[in-house]
Symmetry: D4
Subunit: 150 residues, 8 copies
């Protein structure tokens, strides 16, 4: 990854629809070079895809939770549990952490009823779980996971 790659990534992480013409002008490089490099970044798996950013609040997904999950201790429990948590509809983030909890789970639902039915009840029937604790997000101040180059 050289400096030009970084510049290209920086543009695309904020606007995947930036035209080659504009990028060519911004970077003072021929369009073909930029096109070639983007292809390479894609084939190397550095660019994993392109997505539309939909506002969760606009879709009434305002019951946003961060749940801390403590697994029971035992071989492969953590491994299995991580995958199961990731498959729950509404869950968009699952992080395995060191510390008092094992997993930090990020999820969004339309309301309390959906949260209980789609999330909480599912968790309560997973035998690998020892304990969960849920924090309600009252305000999303920043959510820009697309920004990797800063």
């Amino acid at each position: 990854l050289d400096e030009i790659d970084i510049k290209i990534l920086k543009i695309l992480q904020e606007n995947a629809k930036q035209s080659l013409e504009d990028m060519s002008e911004m970077l003072k490089l021929p369009k073909s070079t930029i096109a070639y490099r983007i292809k390479r970044l894609e084939s190397q798996g550095i660019i994993k895809g392109y997505y539309a950013h939909i506002d969760p609040y606009a879709l009434d997904q305002d019951y946003i939770v961060i749940t801390f999950v403590r697994a029971k201790y035992g071989k492969d429990y953590h491994l299995n549990l991580g995958s199961k948590l990731a498959e729950i509809p509404g869950v968009w983030g699952v992080y395995f952490v060191l510390g008092d909890t094992d997993f930090v789970v990020m999820a969004r639902y339309k309301n309390r009823e959906e949260f209980m039915k789609n999330f909480l009840e599912k968790l309560m029937s997973m035998p690998e779980i020892e304990r969960t604790s849920t924090q309600i997000v009252v305000k999303t101040i920043k959510e820009a996971p697309n920004i990797v180059i800063y």
Copy 2:
């Protein structure tokens, strides 16, 4: 938002580069209808942008942290602190929660040194903070904040 809008969003949240031709076929609708609706979703602010999804690990950003921040109690402290946290380079998520902590902060750095210099030292000089506690992410099992329609 009718069912067609939802279908369009569902496609775009996973692949912003899906062609109108393909979408037309998938949804059995004329390309013009789809194009019109996408424009409308954009102008309504439901689609907030299009991003390239860059793999943080590919860029060696593997010092990933979740930090819990407790603000001092006082008028406007929480408001100010939220904005300040959001401006720290490397921070991509700031959530205001109810519970034992006030903010859950998500951030990525290349290594411990960067984390300390760019993040921890900045936090330590913010007078609104009473206490922080940081969890190191040892594995990102899922990170798909783009998936809003599920």
Copy 3:
């Protein structure tokens, strides 16, 4: 529910014995209208009943506790436990919460002995419970659950 309903409810939540005459005067409405609306609020289940408010302290019920109950993790455990807790004599409130505990239980007893025999010993033989922690209320500063319209 229109504004008149709200005004009627506001009066009745504080004084269920307010006469139709007085209400008619306060609301500048015929008695028959008020009577009709009260009936409707009752049949809609918005007014669930009328209660005498008895002072617990006057009946020497001054061993007042708030108990936090943590259920074992397992399918239907929480559901069953909630009902069982609600049936314990002396328990007047059972709330299922998100966070470090699962249930917040409000109860009143005449003294420590009654509390131990009627409450604590019952809890200790419920297999769904992992842990309880009890806080003694030293002063009830406000207890007005009847006030819903404020």
Copy 4:
């Protein structure tokens, strides 16, 4: 308080509109005796009033919270804080407890926005508070504070 008083209270705590006729039959006592005793219970302050029980959920008050408040240490801080908490609109219960927190506060709001504006922001500007932690009630399993005789 003799056994008859207790029986009268037990009836009225569940149905304040029970007629003297019915009570007379239930208790095998003349109506005048019952009427006299009710008056006495009222004048002694044992019956503090009569209220209609309104269903909070029917009024869309489903953002129900239990907040733990820790006061700063200092003369009269606890006393003052208790009164201030009790005056916040939406707060129906304030209990002063021994243990890791000082006050358990029960409150109901229509939604997150109301909760933040009417409750959380008020708390954040009270100088007597060191710390709060809020639990969201996901289900009210029992709420019958009227039941004092059991």
Copy 5:
């Protein structure tokens, strides 16, 4: 218990060897009255005995601990455990409390080795225990359990 009894108890709780002559003079009462009342306080079980107060530090018992014991949840577990804890040599106080722990245990040993062999290892083999946590006393500022009248 009248005021004279209280005065007698107050003297004896600090000096069990106070002579009847002195007490007679202090209380302006005949010796026979005092002797009679002491006998009565003994036979009523108000005075449970007389003991010499030995200085633990003088006997090199300076490894003083306060241990918090959390019992497993289950019928009679707490009852049984309380008795078992009380029988451990070196344990002089066992209190059943409400809150995060179930028992507060006070004990004294000559040194770490004695503490481990006589106390900790015994606790570790009690199946009713879920968890213990021990605090080392670095200074006994006051220990006067004999003072009941103050």
Copy 6:
């Protein structure tokens, strides 16, 4: 301290009124020897006094608390605070410990009102205190601080 001293102490810690005759027989030693040794133990400060053991419950002192006190950090704070806590009427034990709290305080009161007035309000006006947490004792399973030789 030889074995005979230990035997004498063991008798006196349980019964300060044991007669010299009985002790002489129990220990197979002349009364004069025993009397001499007791005097010596007293003058060495090993025996610090003789107390009547009064039953707190018989005197209606059944509001028994164990309070954990956390001092503010600062030079001499702990020293001063320890003495102040020891002087509160009703407090019979003050232990300076290592760990999450600084002082474990044992106290007895007749009821909640006495506890609040004589204890809690005093604590709340001590500027050296950062935080207290109180556990109510529901049962004293053992309280025999006189037993030093075991």
Copy 7:
């Protein structure tokens, strides 16, 4: 151990290669005396060996952790667990402590992957463990376990 021994130990704990000539001069004692005393300290087991002090950071061992391990309660569990923890490659310190955790474990690894494979996965398959919590060391400010005489 007399004062000369202490002086010798003080020199050797910082520099095991100090020559007998230099030590002779520093301590004003014949070389033979010093040599004799060192031998004696070695044979008494007071000097347990001589080590090269290797800088862990120079060997890229900068993923340094302090892990708190809570054992399940049960006879010999703690004993067995202590030994098993001590045998894990990368673990250099295992301390059995009183308090909320049972073992404090110090370990060093080259990176997160090594830490997970060599340490965390091993812990997760030990049946004696109830819970672990890991703190990442961001800076080693002092590490001089060789300094015993100070």
Copy 8:
């Protein structure tokens, strides 16, 4: 650092007095090569010195503590505090960690009195400290910080 360096370090970390002859035989290399490489490892700072390992218990240093220190929040507080902690006699390890505490401090003393005077009182007068909590080590199961190559 090649494989031969690693082998040399592995020998010296366990026995700094291993002779060149023995090492030559073990590694099948001329003594001069080994001598040259050791010098290089020393001048590169990879070998930071050689020390005698003295048994703390043999010197009666059996009051061993692990103290968790939480710093007040503020610019440079952590930096200053780390250095101050490292200078306290008896402290051999100071680690700056992420999580609920800021510093983990390892120290050894002869007894409680030394611990209080040399350590605890010093900490209590450091204005940068918000809170400490100390765990007593009851058994050192492993302490081999010299083992870096494993």
